[in-house]
C-alpha cells in the first residue's frame, strides 16, 4: 500500500504561502490556530492580534489545470479585542486560542473563536443583492420635495458584487476564571464544551447567559494543585462522550449519561512510566498539549513534547502506537528548559483519506526549525518536511529533511545544534476529504498538496 509519508509514489508539493515575507515579524501577525471546516472548502486562521482570516477554496482554474484550486481570502475580521479586567487587574489578550467550525446548517457558515476568556459565535454569510430605489431621495441621493410625492415606490433588488459579511451572533463570556485552552462542538449540534486549566463547561449554542460546569478539578486549597487540564474534545459521534488531557500525561474519558457532573471519569488512559528514563524533565515533557479523536471515534491521539501517541479507546493501559517526533531533543532538554521552549504546545491532526485505490491513516504534527512530521499508520513510515520560502515555487516537491543524530553528519543532514528553535510549527490542519494540508509557520500559512503522478 502506498504511504503518505515517504513512499516514492506519493509526494507533497508546495501550493501556496500566505502572509508577509519580511524578516521582522509583528507579534500580532503570528498565527495561533488553523482549522478547516467540515467540507474543507473553507480554512480559518486566527492570530495573536485577535483577527480571524478565512480562506475559500477556489474552483479549478482553466489556465492552470495542474493546480487543484487555490485558497484565497474570503473574509477577514477582528474577532477579539484586547481587554482589561479591572476587578482582577489583569490584561486579557486578544490572541485567538482556538477556532472551531459548526456543521453547516444553512447557506451561511458559523464558527466559534475564543481567546483566554470569551468565546464568540460568528456568522459568515454572502450577499449578492442590493435594494434600490427610495421614495424620499432620488438616485443620486438628493432629497425629494415631500409634498410632490405622487406615487409610492417599493425598493427593487438588484444584483451586486459578492459581499462577505462576518457578524458576531453570540458572545459566551464570564464563565472561565482561568485561560481557555480548548473548545469543541458536540455531535448533537446544539452544545459545545470549553475547557480552561481547571474546569470544563458545557454550553448550549443558543444560550449565552449560563453554562454547566461538568468538570472541576480545582482543589479546595490551591497549594494542593498537582495537575491542570491541557485540552478537551467531544467524541465525533457519541454526544455523551468527551475526553480531557492533563499536564501529567493522562487522559480521562467521561460519559455525560452517567451523571450531571463528570468529576468521576469512566476511562483513564495512562502509560506506565519507564523508570530508566526518569529525569528532572519527565513530568514537563509528558504533559499533553493536544488531544484529538480520529474521525471514526475509535482512536484518539495525544501529543506530548517529544512524541505522538495513538490510543484505542478500548485499551486504557498503554497507547497502541507511539511515534517519536524529535527524539534527538532528549539530550537538549536542559537548554530547551532554559529558553522556555519545553513548554511549547504542539498540536496534532489526523488524516483518514481514502480513494478507490488508497486508504490512508496518517498523522501530522509540528516541530522546530519550521519542520513538520508525518507518520503513516499503515506502513509505520515517517517523514520530516520543511515549510520554507526556499521551496515555495508552484508544484515544487518538498524534499524530506533529516536531522543528524549520530556523531557524523551525512550530506543533506542538519545537525541538532543548528536547528532554529524560534521557528516552530505548532498548528497544522489536514483537509477533511482531500490531501491538502495547512501549516502555520509563525506569521506564514503554507498550503501543500499531494503530487499526483
Amino acid at each position: 500500500m502506498a504511504g503518505v509519508a515517504g513512499g516514492n509514489d506519493f509526494q507533497w508539493c508546495f501550493s501556496q504561502v500566505k502572509g508577509a515575507i519580511d524578516e521582522d515579524v509583528a507579534e500580532a501577525d503570528i498565527i495561533s490556530t488553523v482549522e478547516f471546516n467540515y467540507s474543507g472548502e473553507l480554512l480559518a486562521t486566527g492570530d495573536k492580534g485577535g483577527r480571524v482570516v478565512i480562506f475559500q477554496h477556489e474552483q479549478e482554474s482553466k489556465n492552470r489545470p495542474h493546480l487543484r484550486g487555490e485558497y484565497n481570502v474570503y473574509s477577514t475580521f477582528q474577532s477579539h479585542e484586547p481587554e482589561f479586567d479591572y476587578l482582577k487587574s489583569l490584561e486579557i489578550e486578544e490572541k485567538i486560542n482556538k477556532i472551531r467550525w459548526l456543521p453547516q446548517q444553512n447557506a451561511a457558515h458559523f464558527l466559534l473563536s475564543t481567546n483566554d476568556k470569551t468565546i464568540k459565535l460568528w456568522k459568515i454569510s454572502e450577499r449578492d443583492k442590493r435594494a434600490e430605489g427610495y421614495n424620499l431621495k432620488d438616485e443620486d441621493g438628493r432629497l425629494r420635495d415631500p409634498f410632490r410625492i405622487t406615487s409610492l415606490r417599493v425598493p427593487v433588488l438588484m444584483p451586486m458584487d459578492l459581499m462577505v459579511e462576518a457578524s458576531p451572533r453570540r458572545i459566551f463570556a464570564n464563565a472561565h476564571t482561568y485561560h481557555i485552552n480548548s473548545i469543541s462542538v458536540n455531535s448533537d449540534h446544539e452544545t459545545y464544551l470549553s475547557a480552561d486549566d481547571l474546569r470544563i463547561n458545557l454550553w448550549h449554542l443558543e444560550i449565552t447567559d449560563r453554562s454547566f460546569n461538568i468538570v472541576d478539578i480545582k482543589p479546595a486549597n490551591m497549594e494542593e494543585l498537582t495537575e491542570v487540564i491541557t485540552a478537551a474534545e467531544c467524541h465525533p459521534h457519541q454526544c455523551n462522550v468527551f475526553v480531557y488531557s492533563s499536564s501529567k500525561g493522562t487522559i480521562r474519558l467521561c460519559d455525560m449519561r452517567a451523571a450531571a457532573l463528570c468529576d468521576r471519569h469512566s476511562k483513564f488512559f495512562e502509560e506506565p512510566e519507564d523508570p530508566s528514563s526518569r529525569s528532572f524533565f519527565s513530568e514537563i515533557i509528558s504533559s499533553i498539549s493536544d488531544v484529538k479523536f480520529s474521525h471514526s471515534g475509535r482512536y484518539m491521539m495525544t501529543r506530548d513534547y517529544l512524541s505522538v501517541k495513538v490510543w484505542d479507546l478500548n485499551m486504557e493501559n498503554r497507547p497502541v502506537e507511539t511515534y517519536q517526533v524529535h527524539e534527538y531533543l532528549r539530550s537538549k532538554l536542559c537548554s530547551l528548559y532554559e529558553n522556555d521552549c519545553i513548554f511549547d504546545k504542539f498540536e496534532c491532526c489526523w488524516n483518514e483519506w481514502h480513494s478507490q485505490v488508497l486508504y490512508l491513516f496518517a498523522i501530522m504534527t509540528g516541530s522546530y526549525n519550521n519542520f513538520f512530521r508525518m507518520f503513516d499508520r499503515n506502513t509505520r513510515r515517517d517523514i520530516t518536511l520543511e515549510a520554507s520560502r526556499e521551496s515555495s515555487k508552484p508544484r515544487a516537491t518538498l524534499k524530506p529533511r533529516k536531522v543528524s543524530t549520530g556523531g557524523k553528519r551525512k550530506k543533506d543532514e542538519i545537525s541538532v545544534d543548528s536547528l532554529d528553535f524560534n521557528k516552530k510549527i505548532l498548528h497544522t490542519a489536514w483537509h477533511p476529504k482531500d490531501n491538502v494540508i495547512a501549516v502555520a509557520a509563525t506569521n506564514n500559512l503554507y498550503i501543500f498538496q499531494d503530487k499526483i503522478n
Binding site: 427593487v156 446544539e190 454526544c239 451523571a259
Partner: protein, 613 residues
C-alpha cells in the same frame, strides 16, 4: 392598521402631490434604514404599507422584496415572520394567500431558532386559509421542498408543518407526507431527528389510528432508541401523546416496552425526562398500568443514582400520589412510596431535599389525620431541622396543607426554633424569604402565639443591617396590621416603632418614618386618633433631625399622613413644619417639602379648601 386607513384611502383619491403619501413613503424607505429600531418600526407597520400599496402591488412588489430581505437582524426577521401570518387579507384574501409562502419559506431556513419557529407558526396559521386545492398545489410542495432541503434548518422547519396539512389532503398526498416524516425521523443530523421527535406526538394526533399503530409506533420506537440521548429524551414527551391516542389494550404491547426502557435508560437526561413528565405519563397510561408498572418505575426514579433525577421525581411525589386510583391509593403510598420518601428526607443532595420539601406537605391531605401524625409528622419535623435553609423554608411555606388536616399546634414546638433560626440566618436572602411567610404564619398561628413568640422577630428585622430586610420588614408590618387590625397595631406595634425615633442610628430613625407611612395607610381614616395623637407628634419632632435624609423623609411622611388629618392639625401643626423645611439648607429637603405642600393641596379637595380659607 385601522387608524392608518384614512390617509391610504385618500391616496387612492388624489394622485397629484398628496401629502398623505408622505408617511407611507417614509415607512417604506425606513425598511432599509441603518437604524435597526427604525427598520423594526417599519416592519411592524407592514400592514399599513400593504394597505397603501393595495393588494396587487403588495403581491407583485412588496412580497418579492421581503422574500430576499433575510439578511436583517433577528428581531426584524422575527417581526416580519409574525406580520406575514396575518397578511392574508392584505394580499387579496384566501384566494391569494399562497403569495405569502415564498417569504415565509426563506424565513423558515434562517439559523435563528426563534425566527424559524415564528415563520413555521405563521405558515401553520395561513395553511388554514388555503383552499384544499391550493393546499395541494402550493402549500404541500413547499413542505416537501423544506423536508428535502440541503440544510438542516429547512428540514427542522418542515417537521412542524406536516400535521397542519395532513388532514386536508388527498390520500396519495397523505402517503407522501407520511413518507417524508419517516425520512426525517432517520435524518443524519440529530437536529432534524430532534425536531421530528418533538413533533411526533402532534403528527400522531392527526393520523388515522391504523397508521398510528403501523407508522408512528415504529418511528417512536426508533427515536426512543436513537444513539443520541438528546433525541431519546424527546421521545418521552411523544410517549404521552401517543399513549392517549391508543386504546388501552394496545398500550401494553405498543408503548410500554419503550417507556420501561426509557425509565431505565443509561442516560440520566432521559430518566430525568421520564421523571419530569411522570404525571402526564401516569394520566396517559391509565390506572391499571400505573399500578403495575409506574409505581415500581417511580420508586426507582426516587432512588436514582443521579441527584437531578431524584429531584425531578421528588417534585412529582404529591401529584403522583394524588392521581393514583382511589381504591388502593393509601395502601400503595404507605407500602411503596412512603419508604422512598423517608429516604429522600435525608438525601445527600440539598436540591433533592428541597424539591421534596416543596410538595411533601401535600401528602397529608391524601393520607388523612392519623397517618399524617404517625408517619408524615416525623418527616416534617426532620425537615424543619434540616441544615439547608431552603428545605426549612419550603416546609414553612406549605404549612397551610397540614394546618387543614392536623392543625398547626402539632408542629409549633419544632416550628418556632426553625423560624427563629431562619430569621437569624447569616444570608440576607434567607431572612428575606422567611419574612415573606410571616403574614401567612401569623394567620395560621393566631394572634396570641404571634405576640408571644414572633413579634420580637418582626421588630428585630426593622433594625437589620441590610436595607432590603428593613424594607421587607416594613411591608410585613403592613400585612400584619391588615390581618390583626388597627387596635392590635396601636397596642403592640406603634409603641415599638415610635421608640425607634430616638435611635442614635439615622437609618433606624428613617425606618420609623417608613413604618408610620404603612401603618397610616392600613389604619386609615377610621383610626386617625392613632395618627394624630401618637404618630404625628413624633414625625413633627423629627423635622429637627440633624440628618437631611431623615428631614426629607419627614416631608414625604407628612404628605402621606395629610389625608387623614383634620384641617386644624394641618393648618396649625403640619403646614408650619413643611414651610420651615421648604426653606431648609439642603436641596433635597427643600424639594420634598415643596412637593408635600403642593401635593397636600392635590390629595383631597376638602383639605385644599380648608387650607385656602
Amino acid at each position: 392598521a385601522a387608524e392608518e386607513g384614512g390617509p391610504c384611502q385618500s391616496k387612492m383619491a388624489g394622485a397629484d402631490g398628496d401629502d398623505s403619501l408622505y408617511p407611507i413613503a417614509v415607512l417604506i424607505d425606513e425598511l432599509r434604514n441603518e437604524d435597526v429600531q427604525l427598520r423594526l418600526n417599519s416592519i411592524k407597520k407592514l400592514s399599513t404599507i400593504a394597505l397603501a400599496l393595495g393588494v396587487e402591488r403588495t403581491r407583485t412588489e412588496l412580497l418579492p422584496f421581503l422574500t430576499d430581505t433575510i439578511y436583517d437582524e433577528d428581531e426584524v426577521l422575527l417581526a416580519l415572520a409574525e406580520q406575514l401570518g396575518n397578511f392574508t387579507m392584505l394580499v387579496g384574501g384566501p384566494e391569494y394567500v399562497h403569495c405569502l409562502l415564498p417569504p415565509l419559506e426563506s424565513l423558515a431556513t434562517v439559523e435563528e431558532t426563534v425566527v424559524r419557529d415564528k415563520a413555521v407558526e405563521s405558515l401553520r396559521k395561513i395553511s388554514q386559509e388555503h383552499s384544499p386545492v391550493d393546499l395541494e398545489v402550493h402549500f404541500e410542495p413547499l413542505v416537501k421542498r423544506l423536508a428535502s432541503g440541503d440544510w438542516f434548518t429547512s428540514r427542522t422547519s418542515a417537521c412542524g408543518l406536516f400535521s397542519v396539512c395532513y388532514p386536508r389532503v388527498s390520500s396519495t398526498v397523505k402517503a407522501e407526507i407520511r413518507q417524508h416524516f419517516r425520512t426525517l425521523c432517520s435524518d443524519d443530523t440529530p437536529m432534524v431527528r430532534r425536531a421530528a421527535a418533538s413533533k411526533l406526538g402532534e403528527f400522531a394526533k392527526v393520523l388515522e389510528l391504523d397508521y398510528v399503530k403501523s407508522d408512528i409506533i415504529s418511528l417512536f420506537t426508533a427515536l426512543a432508541s436513537d444513539e443520541q440521548d438528546s433525541v431519546r429524551l424527546l421521545a418521552v414527551e411523544a410517549c404521552v401523546s401517543i399513549a392517549t391516542l391508543l386504546p388501552q389494550e394496545d398500550l401494553e404491547t405498543l408503548v410500554m416496552p419503550t417507556l420501561r426502557q426509557a425509565a431505565e435508560d443509561k442516560s440520566w437526561r432521559v430518566r430525568y425526562m421520564v421523571a419530569d413528565k411522570f404525571s402526564e405519563l401516569q394520566k396517559a397510561v391509565g390506572p391499571e398500568i400505573t399500578k403495575n408498572d409506574l409505581v415500581p418505575a417511580f420508586q426507582n426514579l426516587l432512588k436514582d443514582c443521579e441527584a437531578e433525577v431524584r429531584a425531578a421525581a421528588a417534585n412529582k411525589v404529591k401529584e403522583f400520589c394524588e392521581n393514583l386510583p382511589e381504591d388502593n391509593r393509601e395502601q400503595i403510598i404507605m407500602t411503596h412510596i412512603l419508604p422512598c420518601v423517608k429516604e429522600l428526607v435525608s438525601d445527600t443532595n440539598q436540591h433533592v431535599k428541597s424539591a421534596l420539601a416543596s410538595v411533601i406537605m401535600g401528602l397529608s391531605t391524601i393520607l388523612g389525620k392519623d397517618n399524617t401524625i404517625e408517619h408524615l409528622l416525623p418527616l416534617f419535623l426532620a425537615q424543619l431541622k434540616d441544615e439547608c435553609p431552603e428545605v426549612r423554608l419550603n416546609i414553612i411555606s406549605n404549612l397551610d396543607c397540614v394546618n387543614e388536616v392536623i392543625g398547626i399546634r402539632q408542629l409549633s414546638q419544632s416550628l418556632l426554633p426553625a423560624i427563629v433560626e431562619l430569621a437569624e440566618d447569616a444570608k440576607w436572602r434567607v431572612r428575606l424569604a422567611i419574612i415573606e411567610y410571616m403574614p401567612l404564619l401569623a394567620g395560621q398561628l393566631g394572634v396570641e402565639f404571634f405576640d408571644e413568640k414572633l413579634n420580637t422577630l418582626c421588630m428585630a428585622w426593622l433594625i437589620d443591617h441590610v436595607y432590603a430586610i428593613r424594607e421587607a420588614a416594613t411591608c410585613n408590618l403592613m400585612k400584619l396590621v391588615e390581618k390583626f387590625g388597627a387596635e392590635w397595631a396601636q397596642n403592640t406595634i406603634v409603641p415599638k416603632v415610635l421608640g425607634m425615633a430616638n435611635d442614635p442610628n439615622y437609618l433606624h430613625r428613617m425606618t420609623t418614618l417608613f413604618c408610620i407611612n404603612v401603618i397610616v395607610h392600613c389604619c386609615g381614616y377610621p383610626y386617625r386618633e392613632i395618627t394624630t395623637k401618637q404618630m404625628l407628634p413624633v414625625v413633627l419632632k423629627m423635622s429637627n433631625d440633624q440628618v437631611a435624609n431623615v428631614r426629607f423623609n419627614v416631608a414625604k411622611s407628612l404628605q402621606k399622613i395629610g389625608p387623614v388629618l383634620d384641617s386644624n392639625a394641618l393648618q396649625t401643626e403640619v403646614k408650619p413644619v413643611l414651610e420651615k423645611l421648604a426653606s431648609d439648607t439642603d436641596m433635597d429637603v427643600k424639594y420634598f417639602a415643596q412637593e408635600a405642600i403642593s401635593g397636600e393641596c392635590l390629595s383631597s379637595s376638602t383639605i385644599v379648601d380648608k387650607l385656602n380659607t
